[in-house]
Symmetry: C2
Subunit: 190 residues, 2 copies
DNA sequence: TGACATGACTAACGAGATTAGTTACAATAA
DNA sequence: TTATTGTAACTAATCTCGTTAGTCATGTCA
C-alpha cells in the first residue's frame, strides 16, 4: 500500500475528459476517473479538490484547448474569413469533445475564480478581434459579439442534445446561420 | 401509516418546478420534492417513474407551458411582429423558469417518447409559422428556423449561466441579436 | 541516516436513488 | 352491511457517490 504511481494532474484531467467525451460530463465521476487511473476514489483528493475541483480543472483545460483551436483557426485564414474559420473550429471542438465542452458551463462569477475567468475570456477575445477585423463598430461590438456567441453556442448545444429532429443537413444549417449572423452584423453597422 | 394525502401528478410536478426554478434542476431531487410534499422519498414512485420519470414529466409540463406562452405571444401581435414577440416571450419564460427551461434538454430521440417529442415540437411549429408569415422561402425554412432557435437558446443559456461577463445592457444585446437574425433571414431569401 | 512531504491506502459516514415488501384507507361490489 | 380490491402511503434494506479522517509506504533531502 501507499505505492506512488506517479499520477499527474494532467493524467487526471485527461482521464476525466476521455470519460466525459465518451459518456457525458456526469459520467466523469470521481470514482469513474479513479477507476480509469487505477487508484481508489479518496486518492483523487490528492490531485483535485473534490468533484467541484475536478470540474474546475476540466473547464480550465477545455478553455485552454479552445483558445488554441481558435488561435489556429484565426491565423490560418485571411482576416475576412477568420470569423467563419473560428465558427467552424468551435463547432468541431464541441462535437469532438462534447464532455469538455459542457464543462465550460456554468462560467464562474467575476471574482470567484480569476484564473478560470481569464482562461474562458481568452477565446472570446480572439473572436472579438476577428469581428473587429471585419469592421464592426466598437460601439456595437459587445452586442454583436454576444449575438454571435449565442448563435454558436446555441447551435452546438441543440445539435448535441438532439434538439434538431429533422434529418436535414446540419452542416448547411450551421453555415447558413453563421452567414446570416455575420452579414447581419455588417449591414447593421454599415 | 398509509394515510392517503391526495397528492396528484400536478402537485408533484409543481413542487419540482418550484424547487428547480429556485435552486436549479439538480436540486429537484426525489427526496427534495418528497420533502416539499410531506411524503417519504419511496412514495414518489407512486407518482413518477423514478428520477428519470420526474424529469420527463417536468419536460412535458415545460413544453406545454412554453407552447401556451408562444401561442399567446404570436396572436397578440400583427404577423410581422410575431417573431419578435415570440422571441421576447421565450427569453422571459427562460428567465422566470430557469429550472423548467433546463428540463427541456436533452430532447428525446425520435421514437423514444412520442408524447414528449410532440409536445416539444409544438412551440417550434408556432415559431415556424411566424417565420413563414414573414415570407421565408419554404426551401430554406428549416435552416433558418434552426438558426433562429440556436440564437434564442444560446442567448438565454449563456445569460443564465453567467456567460456574459460585461455589465452592458443585456436586453439591448438580445433585441439586436434577434433583429440581426430576422433581417438576415429575409435578405438571404430575398 | 533520519526527518519529511507526497500520494497512495482503509474505514466510515451521509445523501440520494432504488427495490421489495407492508399496511391503512377508500371505493365498490356482493 | 360487509368483503374485496386498488391506491398510495410506509419501513427496511441496498447501491453508488462524494467526502473526511486517519494510516502507511516511498522517495528526497538535509
Amino acid at each position: 500500500m501507499g505505492r506512488k504511481v506517479g499520477i499527474t494532474l494532467k493524467d487526471v484531467v485527461g482521464a476525466a475528459a476521455t470519460i466525459a467525451d465518451r459518456d457525458g460530463l456526469e459520467a466523469a465521476s470521481l470514482s469513474a476517473v479513479a477507476d480509469g487511473l487505477g487508484i481508489k476514489t479518496p486518492s483523487m483528493y490528492n490531485h483535485v479538490a473534490g468533484l467541484a475541483g475536478l470540474r474546475r480543472e476540466m473547464a480550465l483545460y477545455a478553455a485552454v484547448e479552445l483558445t488554441e483551436v481558435f488561435s489556429t483557426a484565426a491565423s490560418s485564414a485571411p482576416p475576412d474569413q477568420a470569423v467563419r474559420q473560428i465558427a467552424d473550429a468551435y463547432r468541431r471542438f464541441a462535437k469532438e469533445h462534447p464532455g469538455l465542452y459542457s464543462a465550460l458551463s456554468p462560467a464562474p462569477r467575476p471574482g470567484e475564480d480569476d484564473e478560470l475567468y481569464e482562461a474562458m475570456a481568452a477565446p472570446v477575445l480572439i473572436l472579438a478581434e476577428a469581428l473587429a477585423s471585419l469592421g464592426v463598430a466598437a460601439d456595437d461590438a459587445i452586442h454583436l459579439l454576444r449575438g454571435l456567441r449565442a448563435t454558436l453556442h446555441g447551435f452546438v448545444d441543440l445539435e448535441t442534445n438532439g434538439g434538431f429532429g429533422m434529418p436535414v443537413d446540419i452542416d448547411t444549417s450551421f453555415s447558413r446561420a453563421v452567414d446570416v449572423m455575420v452579414s447581419g452584423l455588417l449591414s447593421q453597422t454599415g
